[in-house]
Amino acid sequence: MSLTDAGAPERAAGNAPSDPGRQRRGLTERLLAVRELSLLIALGLLVLVTTVRNDRFLSGQSVKDLLLGCAILVILAVGQTLVIITRNVDLSVGSILGLVAFATGSLFLSAPGTPWPVALVVGVALGALCGAVNGGLIAVARVPALVITLGTLYAFRGIDYYWASGSQINAADMPPSFLRLGNQTVLGVPVLFLVALVVVAVVGFYLRSYRSGRELYAIGSEPAAARLSGIPVGRRVFAVFVASGAFAGLAGVLYAARFGTLDAAAGTGLELQVVAAAVVGGVAIFGGSGSAYGAALGAVLLTTIGSSLAVLRIDPFWQQAVVGALILAAIGLDRVLALRVAARLRGRSAHGA
């Protein structure tokens, strides 16, 4: 313990002054809000710069494309947020998405009359099942989630490949009502984006306002303390992986609706973008902090960068490098900020908390 009772003398004097800067909003929440705000600013700047170079970037069609483009990543990033908050990581989401997308197509192929809500339920359930495999293995083996999900990344993808064995499912194989889901707009806003918004709102609300949601933060913040506090750590972590799988499943179904053309490679390599989105969105890779809103903003930012690169006619090969650099910058920045904040808070504590 390098923390010591540096604050003792002041308190011993017994005249600890009240925190002057306190407002209605909690300090903890305010720290988070700063991150979300800076993301919004970055996003704004990016859009501005791109628009200056090409004013069509902000046309209705283009905004619609952007919203459509980020919806799936947003859903995945929100699912990933749940996992990362508990100090774990789920690398298998891209493969789960691919598997579920193909399963959805196959379902329509083998039972053409299937109403799309059924497909949705089946897809989410299959995703949740994959998540349960992850969660179960992690619980049994007590091995870093990264290793397990790296393994299932390949295993799920392999199953997908094996199943598809080179076949492709085309838009014509799926009912138009389902495909409309992928392109339809309500008041100019794509349905897909609305779904993503609902997911963000629900998870954001859950994480903030429910006991079990707060327990996820507790687990990621200090697993040992979480156990001592009677939090069912194993069960929560398992549930989180199931949820992440279910969201990947949802994303998979939506992927099928949006892209129409499905082969077994759908979603390959997506996991990096998802992790990047969450981390850029302020979900600390050490667990314990971050919000669904931030992760969603991170996903929007990443998608916008991708579109901007295309619009600015920058070599698309830069995109992956940018993703990598953003991950590094985000975790590095988080670290520096965390140290700063800790130092400042220690100062506050020493000068009368």
Binding site: V140, R142, A155, Y161, A276
Partner: protein, 351 residues
């Protein structure tokens, strides 16, 4: 130091000072490398008997050629994992080194010898970036190397776009696939063996090797014993980068093609081989011989399955499953043993 336990086992496993559990775990893992070698022997025997064309010199040559990059990267990876870290960016470093080699060859006019030296140095620099983030900023290597996995792969596409550079001198490209006269062992196995011996000696018979195990088991105790944990880890990442530079050269020459997607996904195979070879993902345990056996086992399995016309997609599943199994099995077995052990302790009369 909260992040130290990032992705590590849930605290019960470490907080519980279950010496019995540790002992049985040790007993199991002590024999793990033996088990891997046994599995290797069985795999080779079964494959030789049942798979047509497996037990031929030509096949051995192909097998070894495919395995050399894997084995080379596995050497520093073993050391890194033993210290409790991981380097997931290895394949991307190979890719970036390969494209840079191509770009230099294409446009710099330097001699190939010089380029090779530069590429190895460049690999070391890439590794140093990893090392800096991990030790300088105190970030978990998992997160850092996932970032550099994307970054380096992205940069390797930036360097050459989707172009490939292929006009390397034929005598160089031929040299890489040549076999030792009179045998079907590729000559590239020689540098691999030399490096393996060096890594093996460093790990198992030097002060530095002892320090690696100490770091992986308990970095605090290592610090208190005068081991410079950060510096050691930093240099390991540098070495890993340099070896990846070397592999980048070999890869480029073997396929006579420098391209951005070279060695994509190799990190999974390397990590699988290392874990399969009995190195504990939590650090502190493992031996180089086991890892080499793990590399061979993986290669033999893949090669034999390929020869037996097993679908490539099934191979993907096999690799993923092997990775999971090699981390789940030791823990599961240790768990069962510990449970039995506790039961024995609780009811001494019963036993």
């Amino acid at each position: 130091m909260a992040h130290d336990s990032l992705y590590a086992a849930p605290p019960t496993a470490e907080a519980e000072p279950g010496a019995g559990r540790l002992a049985s775990l040790r007993g199991l893992l002590g024999s793990w490398d033996v088990a891997v070698v046994a599995a290797l022997v069985v795999a080779v025997l079964v494959a030789s008997l049942t798979v047509e064309n497996f037990a031929t010199g030509r096949n051995a040559q192909f097998l070894l050629l495919d395995l050399v990059p894997l084995a080379l990267i596995a050497l520093p990876m073993t050391l890194i994992v033993i210290t409790g870290e991981i380097d997931l960016s290895v394949a991307s470093m190979v890719g970036l080194c390969s494209t840079l080699m191509g770009q230099l060859w294409l446009s710099s006019g330097l001699s190939l010898e010089l380029i090779c030296v530069l590429v190895v140095l460049l690999g070391a620099v890439l590794g140093a970036v990893n090392g800096l983030f991990v030790t300088g900023f105190g970030l978990p290597s998992l997160a850092v190397t996932i970032g550099t996995l994307a970054l380096y792969r992205g940069l390797s596409f930036v360097v050459l776009g989707d172009q490939a550079v292929a006009d390397f001198p034929a005598d160089w490209t031929a040299a890489v696939v040549r076999t030792i006269p009179g045998t079907s062992i590729p000559v590239v196995v020689v540098p691999l063996l030399v490096l393996a011996v060096i890594f093996g000696v460093v790990l198992h018979a030097t002060a530095a090797g002892r320090a690696l195990y100490a770091i992986g088991n308990n970095d605090q105790a290592a610090t208190f014993t005068g081991v410079s944990v950060a510096r050691t880890k930093f240099w390991l990442f540098v070495v890993s980068g340099a070896v990846c530079g070397l592999v980048g050269i070999l890869w480029t020459l073997r396929y006579a093609s420098a391209r951005g997607d070279n060695a994509t996904g190799l990190e999974l195979t390397v990590v699988t081989a290392v874990l399969l070879g009995g190195v504990s993902i939590f650090g502190g345990r493992g031996a180089l011989l086991g890892v080499l056996a793990g590399v061979l086992l993986l290669g033999v399995l893949r090669n034999a399955l390929q020869l037996a016309d097993v679908d490539a997609n099934a191979l993907t599943i096999v690799t993923g499953t092997l990775l999971i199994a090699s981390v789940v099995l030791p823990n599961a077995v240790a768990d069962v043993r510990a449970r039995l052990h506790r039961r024995r302790q609780r009811h001494p009369a019963a036993s």
